[in-house]
Each structure stands twice: as C-alpha cells, then as structure tokens.
C-alpha cells in the first residue's frame, strides 16, 4: 500500500495537479505518526501509512497556513472522509479544488479504537483515488451505539455524577475544538466577548456550558471520528455526548452525517414525515 501511495503522490506533485500532500509522517516505528505536509515530490518517501495513523487530517483544510500552501491532496480513512462530505454539503470546501486519497483501513490502534470496532466504512467512499483493499469485518449497525446504550442504562443520578467527574477535569484548552474537522467557525461562540455569551473559565458550570453547546453545534453533523476524545488531555469521554446526538439523528430521521453527499443535511431539511411526537 505504501509504495502505491508514494507512486500516486509523486505523480500528483510532479505533474503539478496539486501543490501539497496532507498525509502522515513517522520518525521511528515505535513512535506514533504525525501530520506531514509534503510539497516536493522528492520528499514523498517520508509519507507513511499504518494502523497508528489516527489523526483526521481533514481538520487542516480550515487552517489558513495550510490553505496558503496551494491545492492539496489529502489522505483520508473511511471515517475521515465523512467530514469532507459534511464540509461539502455546508459549502465549506470546493471538492474540485482538491484530490482525495482514500486509504483502505482495517482499524486504528491496538486494541482498536471504539469507533473502529463498529466501523462500516473500511473502504472509503466518495474519494478520487482508493489505495489498498481490506476485507475487515463490517460493524453491525445494531452495535453502533453500544457504549452509549450501556451508559444510558445507568440511573440519571449516576450519569450526572459521571459527567461532573469528567467535566470537572476540563481545563478549556480547546483541543476538542481545534482537532474537529467540523468546528470551522471564524470566531467560536466561546470567544465572543462583547457581550460574553457564557462562562469562558474552567468551572464546572462553564465546562458544562462549553461541552453541551459544542455537542449541539455538532448535532446531525458529527461524523464520529472521535478526534475530540483522542485529543482531550483530561481524558473526557466526549464520544458519549456526540453519540447521543448521532443516535437521535439516526433514530428519528434515518440520517447519518457524511454518508451521502446528495442528502440534505438533517438540521436544514424538512419533511412532512418528520416526527412531531416531541410537541406532545
């Protein structure tokens, strides 16, 4: 797979089709790969692909420093590409102005990340080039929200204690926001200070406000790459929050974000069939 990846990337750069490859580099096999930006065809051999390439590189498409490098080719996994689909639906990217290289993926990490256990996009969809082939087991749709369901089987009091313990640790470093491919606001609501919308400090109250607001902003949009959870230095299980909203979108509107570029985004769509049971 790596040699095929190198061949594709070398051709893309040498022919001038793209100016930068957004991919993964790695210094030693024991150390984790890191995001790498290759602008010179000679440097292509530095690109790697393996089951530790965790970062969702789509987050870099919003960075002005990366935009300044020119037309990109971006290396994505099946889960990552769903973020591209959402960005396209929301008119944040022009798909014709980039080349998307999808990597066949058996899963990331040892043991596999939670999202990989129920993955059904081992072969990336909606990409320009696919590299590799895998026969990995497709996650059962019924098991997709197993973590959330186990959590929700606890009493409300237990769940409240859990979230207090989790959110107490938040330092408001905003790693969750910065790694998120779909947090692209020019100025985040938490950074609006005239007037201050809600507490910007790391109190339990402020932390609740921040994480709930962020989850709501991702409702029907979060593609479940779990980068926020991976990035959190305080180990806060943000996956659970995001999953509860993804599950609601799937259960109520049969909608999964980033699966179909033609689908109307669930938040912006109206159908006469929409449930009205919440009106009571």
């Amino acid at each position: 797979m790596t040699s095929q990846l190198h061949k594709v990337c070398r051709e893309l750069l040498a022919s001038g089709q793209v100016q930068v490859i957004i991919g993964y580099g790695q210094d030693h096999p024991e150390q984790p790969p890191y995001p790498l930006f290759v602008t010179d065809a000679e440097e292509v051999p530095r690109l790697v692909w393996n089951d530790r390439c965790a970062a969702n590189l789509v987050a870099y498409l919003k960075r002005k420093e990366i935009k300044a490098l020119g037309k990109p080719a971006i290396i994505v996994k099946g889960c990552d590409v769903r973020a591209l689909v959402v960005l396209q639906q929301e008119s944040q990217i022009d798909r014709s102005q980039m080349v998307v290289i999808g990597m066949a993926c058996e899963g990331i990490g040892e043991p596999r990340l939670s999202k990989c256990v129920t993955c059904d996009v081992h072969m990336p969809q909606h990409v320009d080039v696919t590299i590799g082939e895998v026969q990995a087991e497709v996650g059962e749709a019924g098991r997709r929200y197993a973590d959330l369901e186990a959590f929700m089987s606890q009493s409300q009091e237990e769940r409240m204690v859990y979230w207090q313990d989790e959110l107490e640790r938040c330092t408001r470093c905003y790693a969750c926001r910065q790694v998120c491919p779909l947090c692209y606001c020019e100025r985040c609501i938490v950074d609006k200070n005239r007037p201050v919308r809600f507490s910007t400090t790391a109190t339990l109250k402020g932390n609740y406000a921040w994480h709930i607001t962020r989850a709501f902003h991702l409702a029907g949009r979060c593609i479940g790459c779990d980068e926020c959870t991976r990035a959190c230095p305080a180990g806060i299980n943000l996956r659970l929050l995001n999953q509860s909203l993804s599950k609601a979108a799937e259960a109520s509107f049969s909608y999964r974000a980033g699966m179909d570029p033609q689908a109307e985004p669930v938040i912006g769509a109206f159908s006469a069939e929409d449930k009205e049971s919440f009106i009571a």
Binding site: F37, T39, E65, T201, G235
Partner: protein
C-alpha cells in the same frame, strides 16, 4: 547513614495528614486508563511505583485554573467589594516528579517580580513538596537538556528514593520537609539512587541564537505547520503561567476571577480594536519557544522549561518543545540559504 520508611508506614503517614485536614495531592488514577495529579482522599489512591508520568502538572495546586480574586455586589451606584478570606489550610504535594517540583522556584520569580502575588505566594507558603526520584523515563522526557535530572532537588522539600521491597529512602532538604517526616523515619545504611534519566542534550546557545537572529525566518512557519492551535501544551506545562482576568457576574453579584490562558490560542493577543499582532500559529509557537528559552532566562536567569515532556505527550499531533528544539538545532547546522522545505525540519 540514611533515613528510610516502609511503604505501608508512608501510606499511613499520608492518611494521617489527610486526617489532620491537610490537603494532599499526588499521582492517582482518575479513571481506568488515566493517571493525573489529583487531590487524594485516601492514600491507597496514590500511585507510588511503576506509574507513567502524569499528563498534567502540579501547578494547579498553587496556581489553580480558576481562582476568585475578590467578590463584588452592585447596588445602584454603590459597589461593595468582598475580599476572599486568606487560605490557611496546609497542603502537601506528594510523589511529584522532580521536573514538576523544579518548576516552582522558576515560577516564584514571575509571581514576585513587579508585584507580590498574594494568591500564589500564600499557597506556595502553605505547600510542602515531596518528590519521588525517577527510576524510569519515556521518549518524551528531556530534563537532561535543560539542566534537570531524575533526582533534581530544585523545589523539593524532601525526596523519596525507591529502595525496592516496599522501602523508601527519604532525604529531607528543608525545614518543611523535616517537619513532615519528624519521628517517622528509621536510620539505615541503605541509600537510594535514581534511574539513569534521559540522555538528550540540546545546544541551548544555538537555540537562543536562532531565536535572536531569525525572528522572521520562514522556518518558524515550517516547524509550526502541523500545530492546530489548542492550548493543551501550555495547560499541562509545569512552567506556563499566563492567565486572563474576567468578571463573572449573575445579576448584581459577581466575582473577579483569574483563569488560565494560553499564548497558543488566537484570542490571547486579540486587541479590543480587533487587531491581532499574532495572526499565524507559527507566530504563537515562536512566542512560546522564545519566552521559554530567551525572554524568561534574560529576565530571571532561568529557563522556563523543566524538560518534563508533557507538551508532546498531550499534543494531538505530536508537536511540543522537544521536536521544535531539535528542529532548531538541526536548522542551525544547515547551510544558510537552503530552501525551506520540511526536509530540514522537525526530525
């Protein structure tokens, strides 16, 4: 001769302190797979041996992430100010890493420079720091490069050395340390020793030369390219100490508080006019490195880094101080005029 204590006696002693109302913080599991410095309720939460380095620092026990400076109440045109009652509870930071303790004498400079910060100093005076000499290190540790080491005594009131078989040598360096262990130690002929420690060395003169001579170098941009601009490195750094001051008010009653802030966040230098002197992430990265290795040493004579490596441990994209120092050192060895590419950067 040395003084030693058994592991159980040590844990009993920690429980005694907690029982007497002393606040005790140390490394513990906050959840199944996460070790952080945290307040301890019982000594069995404490991890004494074979634990990884906590991914946070001890600074939050002296410089909390959120701290009330004073309260206020508005009544028409009348403003009532309410002082925060002075802290009186002694606290012990236990089994900290030497690279955490070393940050305290470094931070003392900035909190006593043009202004004596009563909040920091009050906590500092109430705190006794007991470190545990490092037997192991990981690939992110680089204390050796910034003048530290696995048994660096800076900032420690006492230091524990694991002797094996659940025994610890205790070396008390200050009166505070002695007071903590008075009457609890046994004389012995056994002495402890720290592990080998990391061997990483960085030519800091080269780093300073690059900072001073290459402020506008395009290589800063190349080094910072993968930085996504969160504050994880700064908030988990034992020496980063920037804060913001905000009013938190509900109705007519509020408090002026200070909370951690980070030079890596775009809002940090956002002026009220709308102008931002640091518009690029590379400028923010340059600021952090320059503050640690040039500005702070020039002002206070000490490097604002203890080589703990937490910046890299918590970085979602594997950046942090050491990779940048290594890149600068490498850069200084590269012929001037070499084209900028990732080739010569971030090895």
């Amino acid at each position: 001769m040395s003084t030693i204590i058994g592991g159980q006696a040590l844990r009993d002693l920690v429980n005694d302190w907690i029982g007497q109302g002393t606040l005790v913080a140390g490394p513990g599991y906050v959840k199944d797979d996460l070790i952080l410095y945290c307040w301890l309720h019982r000594s069995d939460q404490l991890l004494l041996e074979s634990y990884e380095r906590p991914h946070n620092s001890i600074k939050e026990f002296l410089f909390p992430k959120h701290e009330k400076l004073y309260g206020y109440h508005l009544d028409g045109r009348k403003i009532e100010l309410n002082e925060v009652p002075p802290l009186e509870t002694p606290q012990v930071i236990f089994a900290a890493r030497p690279c955490d303790a070393a940050s305290l004498p470094i931070l003392d400079h900035v909190f006593n420079w043009d202004f004596h910060d009563v909040f920091y100093n009050r906590r500092r005076n109430l705190t006794t720091v007991v470190t545990l000499a490092c037997q192991e290190h990981d690939e992110h540790c680089f204390c050796s490069a910034v003048g530290g080491g696995p048994q660096d005594e800076r900032g420690s009131d006492a230091m524990l050395f694991a002797l094996g078989q659940d025994q610890y040598e205790v070396r008390c360096f200050t009166d505070k340390g002695k007071a903590l262990f008075a009457g609890k130690l046994q004389e012995s002929t056994r002495t402890g020793k720290a592990g080998a420690g990391p061997e990483i060395l960085v030519d800091l003169a080269k780093v300073r030369a690059f900072i001073n001579g290459s402020f506008e170098s395009p290589r800063w941009a190349a080094m910072a390219l993968r930085c996504l601009g969160c504050g994880a490195c700064t908030y988990n750094c034992p020496t980063c100490h920037c804060f913001d001051i905000v009013d938190e008010k509900v109705g007519a009653t509020g408090a002026r508080v200070r909370s951690w802030d980070s030079c890596q966040l775009a809002m940090f230098t956002h002026h009220a006019s709308g102008h931002n002197p640091r518009t690029l992430q590379s400028q923010r990265q340059r600021q952090r490195v320059a503050h640690k290795f040039e500005t702070y040493p020039a002002k206070f004579g000490e490097i604002l880094c203890t080589g703990c490596g937490n910046c890299t441990r918590v970085c979602p994209v594997g950046l942090g101080i050491l990779p940048v120092l290594a890149a600068i050192e490498h850069e200084m060895a590269v012929e001037p005029g070499t084209p900028v590419g990732e080739k010569s950067l971030v090895k």
